[in-house]
């Protein structure tokens, strides 16, 4: 009986959490006009989420592209179809690897920073102080950070994809000797604008999800050092799982 009650309590807790995320999202959307009237706040957050993630995104992208080039070359050379390497690398990067890996890296690099920042602001009563000064922390602090992440992720994904394709080109053409013309022409033959659209839709969804989780966890963190730490961990865990689940769902809708 005790165990059953515990399961019930857990379930109720999970449903309540889901509801509070929705309420949080609605409150944030209400505060959106405040943030949109102050583009400077958003710009600074695009800098924090985007520019500061560039190095990790480009390095990871290049190496992911290189390993795709290497594995693709190995697989295709068994079939004597090395010319298809460009198409395979571009498709796998644009449709899957780019959006997913970028979102995971974003959660680790920028999402944790957002959670810790907002959580600490809350723990040190900076958010309460804003409310006392009649400044809505939702509009001033939370909404710009959410928007910054939402805008930065699609661009980071595009950069990841481009650098990744260059990485695949480097390994496939420069090191393994795939024909340069075939690499690009097969890519252009098989990739169409729908594939790129799929990647952009995914990266928008992942950017929104990752940013929402990050600001929500920060805003609802316990006002203790431990609470902020736990919230930061939850950001990474929840975002990673959410991105992978969303990825399957979006793929099944768009394919």
């Amino acid at each position: 009986m005790g165990r059953l009650a515990q399961i019930g309590r857990r379930l109720a807790q999970a449903i309540r959490k889901l509801g509070s995320v929705v309420l949080f999202l609605l409150t944030m959307l209400q505060a959106m006009p405040y943030a949109l009237r102050r583009p400077r706040l958003v710009t600074v957050q695009i800098h924090n989420a985007g520019v500061l993630s560039l190095v990790i995104i480009m390095t990871s992208g290049f190496f992911v592209g290189m390993v795709v080039g290497l594995q693709g070359y190995d697989a295709f050379s068994r079939l004597r179809q090395e010319d298809l390497l460009g198409a395979a690398a571009a498709l796998s990067l644009i449709k899957e690897l780019g959006p997913v890996v970028t979102a995971l890296l974003f959660a680790g690099r920028a999402g944790t920073a957002l959670t810790a920042e907002i959580g600490l602001m809350k723990a040190t009563d900076q958010l309460s102080a804003m409310e006392v000064m009649a400044i809505d922390p939702m509009g001033r602090i939370v909404a710009p950070r959410f928007l910054g992440g939402l805008i930065a992720v699609p661009f980071l994904t595009a950069i990841f994809n481009s650098v990744g394709i260059l990485g695949a080109y480097f390994v496939g053409v420069q090191l393994m000797g795939v024909d340069n013309g075939a690499f690009w022409s097969q890519m252009q033959e098989y990739v169409d604008s729908g594939d790129i659209r799929e990647g952009i839709i995914k990266s928008l969804a992942f950017g929104g999800a990752a940013s929402l989780v990050a600001v929500f966890e920060g805003y609802t963190a316990d006002r203790t050092a431990e609470g902020v730490g736990l919230a930061t961990t939850r950001t990474v865990v929840v975002t990673s799982v959410l991105v992978l689940i969303l990825d399957y769902m979006i793929t099944s809708f768009l394919l």
């Binding site: 710009t43 600074v44 985007g50 994809n161 394709i165 890519m187 790129i196």
Partner: protein, 161 residues
């Protein structure tokens, strides 16, 4: 902490880099730009069977792409397919008795149009029609004919035994 103008500059550069990447993806990885190529001149050819030829398929001469298939339509009177092809303007000295054939890239690859040169002194120009054509080879028909022929040979060889 960096100053706000410096961060704004950084954010601006970041957005520009993002757009540059999107542009790279849109132009280098897809063949969008070849869709909007409206230079050059159009020639038509009639085929009995275009089986599997697609619009935007390449038109080649000696293996080099010189244009794209623009439209494939059906002529309800002559009961054949009319293929209009847009040829790039630099290839303006193709003899007007050249022939067009629908070929397949590889054994099971995509279909394209191959133009074989003729010997005429006059050249194809806008809206001219290629007279000599060879239709697509449909693998099923060939196999069907082959089986039929094998069957015939078996039939004719039996009475001789």
């Amino acid at each position: 902490m960096e100053s706000t103008p410096a961060r704004e500059l950084g954010a601006g550069m970041f957005i520009l880099l993002g757009f540059a990447s999107l542009f790279f993806l849109a132009t280098q990885t897809t063949n969008v730009e070849s869709y909007v190529n409206d230079k050059g001149y159009t020639v038509t050819a009639r085929f009995e069977d275009v089986a599997g030829l697609k619009e935007r398929a390449p038109v080649t001469m000696a293996g080099v792409t010189i244009g794209r298939v623009e439209r494939i339509s059906f002529d309800p009177k002559a009961l054949n397919a009319v293929v209009s092809m847009r040829i790039s303007p630099e290839f303006d000295e193709i003899p007007d008795d050249s022939d067009a054939a629908i070929l397949t890239a590889g054994l099971l690859g995509s279909k394209y149009v191959g133009i074989g040169p003729g010997g005429s002194e006059t050249y194809l120009k806008n809206n001219s029609q290629i007279q000599l054509t060879q239709s697509a080879i449909v693998l099923e028909n060939i196999i069907g004919k082959l089986l039929f022929k094998l069957g015939m040979e078996n039939d004719s060889s039996k009475p001789a035994e």
